[in-house]
Symmetry: C2
Subunit: 90 residues, 2 copies
Amino acid sequence: MKHFKAMITITLRKSILDVQGKTVEHALHSTNFTSIDQVRIGKYVELTVHAADAQQAMSIVDDACKNIIANPIMEDHHIALEEISVGEHA
Amino acid sequence: MKHFKAMITITLRKSILDVQGKTVEHALHSTNFTSIDQVRIGKYVELTVHAADAQQAMSIVDDACKNIIANPIMEDHHIALEEISVGEHA
């Protein structure tokens, strides 16, 4: 059994208006951060998964994203996996 | 003037209990995703910044994170920068 750290970024689909991002952009502009625009806000999830190999780990995390963590109708998700030793996952 | 896309991950400090992460972990366990644990939930922010060079862009985004986007008392942030061409940032 191997252990993997999964780093998942979840972003609202490009076609969907990001109200939270627009609000942060206005806040930035009104505090003199005028060189920043196109702010979009998503979620970042880190988790540990125990699996036989990286392929199985990726499959488990992808299933979890589709079913629980992300909303596949409105959001896209991207998963990065990194193998960790037993000591690190504790 | 160059254009950069900044990808920012904001995570709750390790010492702070992540109630949202625990809730998602319970939901995963009760839907048979038992090989996943240590779920921690943060934010992911994408934005475009216009600056003379990468160093200036990083400095602007770091300031924006410390002042507006993240809460430096409870959260850590990590910034990745990528130069984009004029066409891409539109």
